[in-house]
């Protein structure tokens, strides 16, 4: 019976992955200098790749044949060949403290938030040079590029309650930020902003391109932004008990499923993940999951079957079956690595 089930599962896996591809999970060690590579089929660690001091940003083009990792403390961008899991190049030409990155689907342009300088740098991977710098308020931190590559959505941090003098002492931008910047990817110019009321945190674009979901400071929940209207259309709070509401916490980690039907979003200190049906307006909470560890970042396999949650304070990444919303594996990444940003690739095998 067991072997029959095993064979059935193998057949399913073989039919849902692109031909000649293998799924790998890449886990950035926010407190270290490496990336841990995990085989999605077995959830076993395959190895680690050294990339530079404090990896913070990770992105891949649609082909999944190259992986970019930004390293915050040495201002670098490392290029990884995910077929062989080796570093093929490293660029060290960026401003102070690159954070979470994104890349156009063709792999041509990488957008890097440069937290320490108050700009987003646009790196042309063919010319191997920075082709634009886009100034914003706040401290550049997150970015997401639309599926059609038309727009980049820039989400800088706010001042996090710090006085301007404290920011200035550390050489950080002193302007507050309460909006998302809409940038035309063809010209690298800001064409609009969308108010978020407070500083935006992680953002996620629905794969069908119509909406952007944003965690923001001061909200245990998320905002829904209509990208066509370029405005906020819903402010969604988690359903929490009075006890949970009394616990200081925040939302950090949000993702839409590939079928654009659900959003999974987190509460860091409560260690909870909430699932929302986003086919209705406003989105409706349909499930809550106790991750039993802080939640910091999430990613979904391209086939939409598995969701991974990085728990920095426990040095683990947990795997969940999306259909049944149950935890299937817990992967120990290594003591003190503080895993945060994660990404799954369908890596070509040839």
């Amino acid at each position: 019976m067991k072997s029959t089930l095993h064979i059935a599962l193998l057949v399913i896996a073989a039919t849902t992955l692109p031909a000649g591809a293998v799924q790998k999970l890449y886990v950035l060690s926010s407190a270290g200098n490496d990336v841990t590579v995990v085989d999605v089929a077995t959830n076993k660690i395959l190895g680690t790749i050294e990339v530079g001091d404090r990896p913070h940003g990770i992105a891949a083009p649609r082909s999944h044949d190259v992986l970019y990792v930004a390293t915050e403390f040495d201002n670098g961008l490392t290029v990884i060949d995910p077929v062989r899991d080796v570093v093929v190049k490293k660029y060290s030409i960026f401003g102070s403290r690159p954070n979470e990155i994104d890349v156009t689907s063709d792999g041509r342009l990488v957008y890097l938030p440069i937290l320490g300088h108050g700009v987003y740098e646009v790196f042309d991977t063919q010319k191997e040079q920075i082709v634009a710098r886009i100034a914003t308020n706040g401290m550049p931190h997150n970015v997401a590029i639309s599926p059609d590559d038309r727009f980049a959505y820039l989400a800088p941090l706010g001042s996090q309650g710090a006085a301007p003098e404290a920011l200035s002492e550390r050489g950080l931008p002193t302007t507050p930020n309460d909006k998302i910047y809409v940038v035309d990817v063809r010209t690298h110019t800001t064409v609009a902003t969308i108010s978020t009321g407070d500083a935006p945190r992680p953002i996620a674009i629905r794969p069908d391109g119509g909406y952007l979901y944003a965690n923001v400071d001061g909200l245990q929940g998320f905002l829904v932004l209509d990208l066509k209207k370029r405005k906020q259309v819903a402010r969604v709070a988690y359903e929490l008990t009075a006890e949970e509401k009394a616990t200081p916490s925040r939302s950090h980690g949000i993702i839409a499923t590939p079928d654009s039907k659900e959003v999974w979003t987190s509460d860091v200190n409560l260690g909870l993940v909430f699932v929302f049906d986003v086919t209705v307006h406003p989105p409706k909470q349909v499930a809550r999951i106790d991750n039993e560890a802080s939640v910091y970042w999430m990613t979904i396999t391209p086939d939409g079957k598995t969701l991974y949650i990085a728990s920095a304070t426990k040095d683990v990444v947990n795997a969940y079956d999306i259909a049944s919303r149950t935890k299937t594996h817990s992967i120990e990444i290594g003591k003190g690595k503080s895993p945060k940003r994660i990404l799954v690739l369908d890596v070509p095998t040839t």
Binding site: A31, G161, A162, A163, R170, T247, P248, S249, N269
Partner: protein
């Protein structure tokens, strides 16, 4: 300072030894809701039975609201610059901000842009009474 919803009472004789932290819960009315503040009281100075050497900090990291922990062994801590203090410090497990209790909770390393929020207290008939907290603590709920 902001007055707490409750006054926390802790027996002072629990704090005769240096660096022996005790946790407590305080409640603060904010504009949006009643919020629970985790606190830590410890003796960092003279062991003379007075309140002079006592410090009470909010154990919520002002950077991103994670709970800080006391690190007794400091030699391997990831400091931005210089060696870590030899005495115990507070460390945030999320982004490794480090706070020095001997300097009123000042942030001495990592991304936190300010020190730990402090509670105010008095010693009354052998009891430490904690009844106020820095008003700025409300920033973490905004």
């Amino acid at each position: 300072m902001r007055v707490l919803r409750n006054t926390v009472h802790l027996p002072a004789d629990r704090f005769t030894e240096l660096w022996q932290p005790a946790s407590f819960e305080a409640w603060l009315e904010t504009a949006s809701a009643l919020k629970r503040l985790q606190g830590v009281l410890m003796r960092v100075g003279p062991q003379d039975g007075t309140a002079d050497g006592l410090r009470a900090f909010c154990a919520i990291c002002p950077h991103e609201i994670c709970h800080v922990e006391v690190a007794r062994e400091t030699s391997d801590l990831p400091m931005d610059t210089g060696p870590p203090p030899a005495h115990p410090v507070f460390v945030c497990p999320c982004h490794f901000s480090i706070f020095d209790p001997l300097e009123d909770g000042r942030a001495i390393s990592g991304p936190a842009l300010r020190g730990l929020y402090r509670f105010e207290f008095q010693l009354v008939d052998g009891t430490v009474e904690i009844d106020r907290v820095e008003a700025d603590v409300e920033a973490i709920f905004s």
